[in-house]
């Protein structure tokens, strides 16, 4: 019996769902193992009878919470895909803005449209079983997660920093090049793709389980970042996980 899967999107850029479409021919093989019963972006049909729910995007308003709770009720397994869903993502940058300031620039008399609150990952609202991190997700990791779920085993998501992958890929460390990287506290699994492409790690996969943030902050300061700049760096993706306060 093929498990039934459904895809949902909240506040996000749909980039993670695109990575799934980017599986190209592998997507066809994948479709041989699952039955897609709901995926608004690509199909008309919809059903509430699904085993695995994939959710992209953050929860940014109260109305979204009901939708999320309903998904949790229907699904046996909930998988959060993409940084917006797993850690709040770029959406949570706005949480640092003064809410009054945001309110001031928003529709005054149509308050119902501004049912908006601090952007948050979906596990702030419902329990999540599996996380596929990244902005966007790494489609290989997505495949690994799906294969693991199909084989009934827990997916193997790293709990070590991106440095591990950078070193294996023989990159020149960002700090040695005069740049500032948060890969030292960010969860690996992306194969250090951004550093491979000549830039730095921005932290889109979220923090490892037990980051040594004090040490990392000291490193950033030692290499020349100011305290404010350091805080700003942490706010980009780690905003919800409580850092940068």
């Amino acid at each position: 019996m093929k498990p039934k899967v459904a895809f949902f999107d909240f506040a996000g850029c749909e980039g993670d769902e695109l990575q799934i479409a980017n599986l190209e021919e592998e997507l066809l093989s994948l479709l041989g193992h699952v039955e897609v019963v709901s995926f608004r972006e690509v199909m008309k049909e919809h059903s509430n009878d699904y085993d695995i729910a994939f959710i992209e995007g953050s929860c940014t308003r109260l109305a979204d919470e009901d939708r999320l709770k309903e998904i949790r009720k229907n699904a046996k397994i909930v998988v959060a895909i993409g940084a917006c869903a797993t850690i709040g993502g770029i959406n949570s940058l706005k949480n640092y803005k003064d809410p009054d300031e945001v309110g001031r620039i928003v529709y005054g008399d149509k308050a119902k449209l501004f049912d908006t609150y601090a952007a948050r990952p979906i596990d702030a609202v419902i329990p999540v079983d599996v996380y596929v991190h990244g902005c966007p997700i790494n489609k290989e990791e997505f495949l690994h997660v799906v294969k693991s779920l199909l084989m009934g085993k827990k997916p193997d998501i790293p709990n070590y920093p991106v440095c591990v992958e950078c070193k294996k890929n023989e990159n020149v460390c960002a700090f040695e090049r005069g740049e500032f990287c948060v890969g030292t506290v960010t969860r690996a699994g992306c194969n250090s793709c951004c550093v491979n492409e000549g830039t730095i790690c921005w932290g889109c996969r979220g923090l490892v389980d037990n980051p040594n943030e004090n040490s990392h902050k000291e490193v950033l300061l030692k290499y020349g970042l100011t305290v404010d700049e350091t805080i700003n760096k942490f706010r980009l993706y780690f905003a919800w996980q409580g850092r940068g306060k």
Partner: protein, 436 residues
Amino acid sequence: MSKPEVNISLHHVTRVEGHGNIYVNLKDGTIKKCEWNISEAPRFFEAMVVGRQWNELHHITSRICGICSIGHVLASLKATEAAMNIPISEQDLILRKLALHGENIQSHVLHIGYLVLPDLMGVGSVIPLASTHPEEVKTVIRLHRLANDMSNMVCGRTTHPQRLIPGGFAKLPTQKELVDLKKRLKDSIPDLQTAANLFKTLSSGFPDFQRETEFIALTDPNEYALYDGELGSTDSKSVPASEYLSFTNEYIVPQSTAKRAKHLRDSYMVGALARLNINYDKLSPLAKEVAEMFDLKPVCHNPFMNSIAQLVEVVHSVEDSIRLISELEAEGLKPQPDYFRPEIKPKSGRGVGAVEVPRGILFHDYTYNDSGACTKANCVIPTNQNHGNIELDMKALLPQVMDKPKKEIELTLEMLVRAYDPCISCSTHYLNVHFE
């Protein structure tokens, strides 16, 4: 005999990016209500970038859209580069044009192959087509994969491309990679022909609907403008892209979380059809052939033909990419050191970057202070510019289909929305409006 009341409430239209609703109420043969209404949660990008540094903005604004990231990043970089007078090399310019072609191919193929084709084949999604029409689906997939490989090679990644940085590229493809890509592009032409033939057999599925409207797109005297150009219109003369506000005039409607735009009429259209209408004679030879197959020429006022215009643009982008790579080959690709960073001194200023992304013209407008932090940002998204046109088209189309069964009316209205290839998440990237 009085006609029954028809209430249509299409909540979260399927096979479009983002969440939009269609509400229609027909009573006694008159349209009581016809609304295209965006319910997507706003995401506040223009507020989020305020206070962030010039070398971070493109990383943040890339996240406005996962499908046209490359376009957002390029518009963002152009705005920053314009604000701070940062030049880019000729080679980088060509590579950026290649990047945009890659995005155009990827997005258009995804749209017409996965989102529009099911309607023409009478099914709910591309999934059953994988079993009933495997060769056609594989053709679509091959073209999609080629476009992604192209984007990966030039930009690092299709979604949130890392290599695109202010002043150029963090890493270059190798000449060998470009030459291999050129061969693959050439080899894809039979697949393009298959796709064109397929859509030709299905094109009667598009309603023959016209409503005169204004079309707006970038325009350039020397090429089919995607990366650079002036702001052109079918109704007026062009203006420099930096004067975009005079064209876009954004405003709000109460039922929508997304802004709308208008220029010389109540609304206008952007996108592939707009570009084709304005720049038709700059299309590549094969692209023109495909356009002729469908009798598509300026000025076409049938929004359903936007999907065909996208098909034509896929062919153009493939052919033009071959030309651009040949140019690079002729000069020889100049390498740059590993981890290259252009020397940039941030300074205060304001700049506008305008770029044609698959769904239409995109503007990023940034103001920076002396320390290189952004003090103000404005982004005008293609889909925002189309929302007004969609609703007016719906109002004009309804009388033609009012007498049909409800399911058929719904399908036609959905097809209309899909034809625009809206990217709704993008269009609710902000909120920045003042009330009088």
